[in-house]
Assembly symmetry: C2
C-alpha cells in the first residue's frame, strides 16, 4: 500500500541533518513510501544536496517558515506559530495529503497542536503516548508515557482499548493481553483510580490480564501495559537512566588497564550482539494515540538510524489501519452500552 508521510524536518536536537537523511534512506528500502519534507526550504535543499538526493514525486518539499524550540511552552507554540514545520506537517495529515506525520520536536507542543488540529477519535477523551519497549519475550507496548499526568479510571480503560487495537492491527495478533500497572499483584493494592480501572478493564471484553508490577514490563508479561502518564514517564526515564549507568560502568571496566582493553577487543562481537539486542534506537517512535490522524513522536536526540524506526512506525500504522480499528472498537462499545 502506498503511504505518504509528512516529516517535520526542523524538530529534534539535530534537525534536517537527521530527519532528511533518514527519509532519503527509507525511500530506498520501501518503494511504496513517499515523503513530504516540511521546514525551511533552503535548509532541506542543502541537506539533500549533501546527500546527493533530488526532490521528486516521492520526495517533495513543503516550506514552513517557523520552527518550535525544544523548550518552548506548548501553548505559545500552538497560538503563536501557525507556520511552524510541526504544524504544517500536522495540517498535511488533517487535509489528507499525508497519512501520517513524524516529528522529533517538543513533545508538549506536538501533543497540543495535534489535538487542536486533528481532534480526538469518537469516544476518546484524551490522546495517550504509546511506546514500544524491549522485553525478555520480544517487546511490549506501554501507554501513557507522559501526555496525561492525572487520569481517571475511564481514561485508563480507553488507553487499554487503544493499546490493544494498536497491537492487534500492527502485529496482527488476536486478543492481545492487557496489564494494568500497579504496585502489587493482589487486587487489594493500588490507589482508588487504579482499582476502578481494573474493574472497568475486567468488564470491557479486552483480554485483561489484571495487575502487573514494574518488573513485568521487561519480563514481557503482557502485550500492552496501561498506566497514567506520570507513572509511565517516570518508569521510562528511570529505565533510560539505569541503562546509561550500566553502559558507563561496563565501558569503564573495559578501559581500566591494558589487559581489560585487550579483553574488550576480544569480546567485541559479543558486546555488539548484546548492544544490537538492547539497542533503544530500534524502539524509537512513540504513537500519539487517539487522534484522528497518525502522529509519531521520535526521541529528540535520535540519530539517522533511530529516526528511521520512527518513520517505519508511521508507515506501519498507516498500512495497518490503526485508526479504523480503534474507531470500530469504540463504536462497538458505544452500541453495547446504548
Amino acid at each position: 500500500m502506498d503511504v505518504t508521510v509528512a516529516i517535520d524536518c526542523m524538530g529534534g536536537d539535530h534537525g534536517t541533518h537527521v530527519t532528511v537523511a533518514a527519509a532519503v534512506e527509507y525511500l530506498e528500502r520501501d518503494p511504496h513510501a513517499s515523503f513530504i519534507l516540511v521546514g525551511l526550504t533552503d535548509r532541506i535543499e542543502g541537506e539533500l544536496k549533501r546527500l546527493r538526493a533530488v526532490p521528486g514525486p516521492r520526495l517533495r518539499i513543503q516550506h514552513a517558515g517557523e520552527t518550535i524550540g525544544m523548550d518552548e511552552p506548548p501553548a505559545a507554540a500552538l497560538r503563536g506559530k501557525k507556520d511552524s514545520s510541526m504544524r504544517v506537517a500536522i495540517n498535511l495529515v488533517k487535509n489528507g495529503e499525508a497519512l501520517a506525520c513524524v516529528s522529533a520536536g517538543n513533545t508538549g507542543a506536538l501533543m497540543a497542536i495535534s489535538r487542536f488540529v486533528l481532534k480526538t477519535l469518537p469516544g476518546i477523551d484524551r490522546p495517550a503516548i504509546a511506546g514500544i519497549l524491549p522485553t525478555l519475550k520480544g517487546h511490549t507496548y506501554m501507554l501513557d508515557l507522559g501526555a496525561n499526568v492525572d487520569c481517571s479510571a475511564e481514561h485508563l480503560l480507553q488507553f487499554g482499548i487503544m493499546g490493544a487495537e494498536l497491537v492487534a492491527s500492527v502485529e496482527h495478533r488476536e486478543k492481545p493481553t492487557v496489564g494494568l500497572l500497579n504496585i502489587g499483584e493482589e487486587d487489594i493494592k493500588g490507589n482508588e483510580v487504579v482499582k476502578q480501572a481494573a474493574e472497568l478493564l475486567g468488564a470491557s471484553g479486552l483480554n485483561f490480564h489484571g495487575n502487573v508490577e514494574g518488573n513485568d514490563i521487561y519480563k514481557g508479561t503482557t502485550d500492552v501495559v496501561v498506566c497514567d502518564g506520570f507513572v509511565g514517564n517516570i518508569a521510562l526515564k528511570a529505565s533510560e537512566g539505569l541503562a546509561q549507568m550500566l553502559a558507563t560502568f561496563l565501558r569503564e571496566e573495559f578501559k581500566r588497564n591494558i589487559f581489560t582493553k585487550l579483553a574488550g577487543i576480544a569480546v567485541l562481537p559479543v558486546i555488539n550482539a548484546f548492544k544490537r539486542r538492547a539497542d533503544h534506537r530500534c524502539y524509537n517512535g512513540a504513537s500519539l494515540l487517539g487522534l484522528r490522524g497518525i502522529v509519531i513522536k521520535s526521541h529528540g536526540a535520535a540519530d539517522v538510524y533511530a529516526f528511521g524506526f520512527a518513520i517505519q512506525r508511521a508507515v506501519e500504522e498507516a498500512r495497518a489501519g490503526v485508526l479504523a480499528h480503534i474507531s470500530e472498537r469504540m463504536a462497538t462499545i458505544h452500541r453495547g452500552v446504548a
Copy 2:
C-alpha cells in the same frame, strides 16, 4: 558504640538459612554489635549448629512461635499473630532491648505492625520506605518506595525532611540535596500534589534542588529523591526488571557458541568487576523511616551476603542517631511555625 539488633529470623524466602548465617558472619566483622535472633528456637539452634556457632551474650535467641507468610494480608498478620517472629522483634525495639530490627518478611505486615507497635515520630503523619540506589556518582536515597500509594504535598515534604536527615546523619553530609521526582524540569509540569509539594519543599529550609526526572535517579543528580510510594515502587521494580533483562541478554550472547564462550572466560575478571559495581545486593536494606524505632526491610529473596548489608544498615542508623536527627528537625520546624 554498642548496638543490639533484633533479627526476624523466620522472614524472607529462605528464613533462618539466610538470616542466622548473616548475623553470625556480621558478629565477626563488628565487635560492638550484638544480635537477638527471633523465631522458632529449634530452627535457629539447628542453623547455629550447622554453622558451628553457639549462642552467647552477643548472640541471644528469643523464641517466637508464629511466622507470617509472604502473601498474608497485613491486617490479619497484625491482629491474629501476636507471637510472630516479626512482631516479637519489633517489640524488642519498642521496649529498648534492641536499638533496631531487621526483617526480610512481608513488607505490608512489617509496616502495619511497626506502625501499630512503635507509632510515628512527632510531626510525621506516615512512615515511608527509604532505599538506596547506585548512581553514576555513588548512590542516592529514594523514598517512598511503596508504603503510601496516595500522598499529599505535606507527606512529600515530610519524606524530604526525613530523607535529608537520614543522609546527613548516616553519611555525615551537611545539607544534602533533595529532588522531587516529576515528569519535567519546568515548574509548570507535573500534577497538582507535586506542584504544591515543590512549593513546600522550596520554603522548608532544606537544600531543595527542585524537580528531577526519572533518569536523574541514576545520574545521581541529588542525594535524596522524593516521590509517592506508587511511583517509587514502580520505578524501582521497573529498574529491577530492566537489569534482569539486560543480564539475561548478556548471558545468552556469551553462551551462543564455543567462541563466545571462550571470549566469556577471557573477559570474566571485567564482567565480575562490573557485577560488583552494579550488584543490587550491596544496596539491600530499606528503612521504614518515620517510626519511633529503626526498622529495616530486607529484600525477601536476599542471600546471606545481601542480608548482611541490611544488618549493616540497621547498625549504622542506630549509631548515627537517625531518629534523634529527624525528631530535632521536626521540633525546629514546629517551633518555627508556632
